[in-house]
């Protein structure tokens, strides 16, 4: 090389250099811990590592703040950003253990969520009852209404033209072989409907309300057909054993959907976004709970109803289960809830 064209002197120090020298050991250590957490789990860290983690995280965060203000080394800032973010997710994003989450769900979240949407639930119950009464009286006065409400496949011969004898047999002659399969089918089908009516709530709750009304109409129509042949109490008992749980669950899932729709339409004091999020999370817990209720209903329907043929017993079981739900949701207050967290 020729004689230097430029005058030379010792390298000027930039902030990034000083900064890297002072802290890079901490960053690398945090990087190592976080990588291990990401690949494996909490258990892969020793107690010392776990104690060290938050301190290293805070050091790195403050490094990031300082680097943004004083250093122009973009790669360094980017590195600190992604490292802080990864550490943040490992420290704040860690879920409580599944067992404790489930315990919390049953002990507090679920009943609280159902209590929170009690107005919407009451509305759905009234809507179901109202629709059932309307269709009941319509069909009692003119049986031809039945055919415009219930699709033929669903009726399965249980229509106004059926004889009292054949109607009676549908109440007491269970198909013994497919018990659990039938129950499973009903459970998955109804749960899908419950999730669906939750999701439909987003469309200002209109489809959800229609779904609830239709459910009530079908209920009234079936009762009307049986009542016309003097089987009113029998069909009520037949419906009650699982229906109290199932219809209640459908009402709650409808209420969950309505809560979201109402938050979209009338956010109140919160911003629309915040209102929807608050409603969405409460409603999601209530909706998840209805899946459990529907599993119970499926068991009662597929197994209980096929093996218990006594009307009084059927009605009693239905009433007991319903009061159980009511106490659990509205009357029971676990002590921890009163004291707060």
């Amino acid at each position: 090389m020729n004689a230097p064209i430029y005058p030379e002197m010792d390298a000027p120090l930039v902030n990034a250099t000083r900064f890297r020298q002072a802290h890079s050991a901490d960053w690398e250590r945090l990087d190592e811990l976080v990588t291990r957490l990401e690949k494996k789990s909490m258990r892969s860290l020793s107690d010392d590592d776990l104690l060290e983690l938050p301190a290293l995280y805070r050091t790195t965060l403050s490094s990031l703040s300082v680097a943004r203000d004083t250093s122009l080394d973009k790669a360094l800032v980017t590195y600190l950003e992604q490292l802080s973010t990864r550490a943040y997710f490992q420290i704040y994003g860690v879920q409580t253990p599944a067992r404790r989450q489930i315990a919390r769900f049953f002990a507090r979240s679920w009943p609280e969520a159902v209590r929170a949407i009690w107005r919407e639930t009451l509305f759905c119950v009234l809507l179901t009852a109202g629709a059932a009464l309307v269709s009941y009286f319509l069909i009692r006065s003119d049986p031809s209404w039945f055919y415009s409400m219930i699709p033929e496949g669903l009726a399965g011969g249980r229509d106004p033209s059926a004889s009292a004898q054949s109607l009676r047999s549908t109440l007491y002659d269970g198909q013994k072989d497919g018990l659990s399969l039938f129950a499973t089918f009903l459970f998955t089908h109804n749960s899908q409907i419950a999730i669906f009516s939750f999701a439909l709530g987003f469309a200002f709750a209109v489809p959800t309300v229609l779904l609830i009304i239709y459910n009530g109409l079908m209920l009234g129509a079936f009762v009307a057909v049986f009542a016309a042949k003097g089987l009113g109490f029998n069909v009520a008992a037949w419906l009650m054993i699982h229906g109290t749980t199932e219809i209640f669950a459908i009402c709650i899932s409808g209420a969950a959907g309505i809560r979201i729709g109402m938050a979209v339409a009338f956010p109140g004091r919160l911003s629309r976004m915040d209102a929807v999020v608050a409603a969405g999370r409460t409603a999601a817990i209530a909706m998840a709970g209805t899946v459990i209720m529907l599993a119970v209903a499926g068991l009662l329907e597929g197994v209980g109803r096929q093996t218990i043929l006594n009307d009084g017993l059927r009605a009693l079981i239905g009433a007991t289960v319903l009061s159980g739900w009511l106490v659990y949701f509205y009357a029971w207050r676990p002590r921890s809830a009163e004291h707060g967290q």
Binding site: A16, K74, T78, V94, S191, F196
Partner: protein, 281 residues
């Protein structure tokens, strides 16, 4: 104009930790979101097909009822649980999202709760599964008329492309659950361009260092880190020409020294509150 367009497409979002530091999260792009969904969907279909075949081939007479029951339950859990159960885990991502480097995060910076995960995934019911099963049912019955197909397509299109119509790339489910999906990146600590090599460096006249600001400095950093001979030669030529400096035949050495000198100068400006963003200031 150009800078405005860039800002709209920018997916960096403010995300304040409890310690009060902004992490500047990068949202997942629509493309990687769609990719993750397709991956998950394919995985679900493959599992469904494999299990269905396994069940139908291994069924011993007498156990069909039981197997069918298990299949029904399994299908229900697969359809409703795949997304929720994976996202409730510590990774906050389904396998598809993990492959695309995505993660579900609560928008308010708090812990991602199970309720939020359930809410965002139950909404898939009206976004994807409803129009799909609707279409499937009608085709199976042979009654899928044009109107129905059109309706199902419009419906799913409305929700499917919802993320493209808002700047935060929120699905309807994200909207309801208060979540968003962010890109997770992993980077190695880069080498120190200035302090890495202790050697005497060229010095530059004041006029040559006054030419550029932070934006140009960081572009130069990028060029040096990428280390591509052609780019380095071009940039070195441009700077020499602009600053009217002689060529000593060592492009890389020249650029890295110029970078060090410019960086030191701009940083000392920062210390006294003078931040020069680019060469136009």
């Amino acid at each position: 104009m150009a800078s405005k367009a860039l800002r709209i497409r920018d997916l960096k979002r403010t995300f304040i930790t409890p310690e009060g530091v902004d992490l500047r999260l990068e949202l997942g792009s629509a493309g990687s979101r769609a990719g993750a969904f397709v991956l998950d969907f394919i995985a679900m279909i493959v599992i469904l097909v494999v299990v269905t075949f396994a069940v139908s081939f291994t069924a011993v007479p007498g156990t069909q009822q039981f197997l069918l029951m298990l299949w029904l339950l399994g299908f229900f859990i697969l359809r409703n649980g795949w997304f929720s159960l994976f996202e409730m885990g510590s990774r906050g991502a389904t396998p598809g999202k993990r492959l695309m480097g995505l993660r579900v995060v609560a928008r308010d910076g708090a812990r991602l709760t199970g309720a939020a995960v359930i809410a965002r995934n139950a909404m898939r019911e009206i976004e994807v599964f409803l129009p799909l099963s609707f279409l499937g049912m009608q085709t199976a019955q042979g009654t899928a008329d044009t109107f129905l197909v059109l309706f199902a397509l419009t419906w799913s299109g409305l929700f499917l492309f919802f993320p493209l119509f808002n700047k935060d790339r929120l699905r309807v489910g994200d909207l309801v659950a208060g979540t968003w999906v962010v890109q997770t990146t992993k980077a190695k600590l880069s080498t120190d361009l200035v302090g890495g090599a202790q050697r005497p460096r060229r010095t530059f006249p004041e006029a040559a260092l006054k030419l550029y600001g932070i934006y140009e400095l960081q572009t130069l950093e990028q060029v040096l880190r990428n280390d591509q001979a052609e780019a380095i030669a071009t940039v070195a030529r441009t700077i020499r020409h602009k600053a009217d400096l002689p060529d000593d035949g060592d492009d890389w050495g020249f650029l890295s020294d110029y970078y060090a000198a410019l960086c030191a100068r701009l940083e000392s400006g920062l210390m006294v509150g003078r931040r020069r963003e680019n060469k136009f200031e």
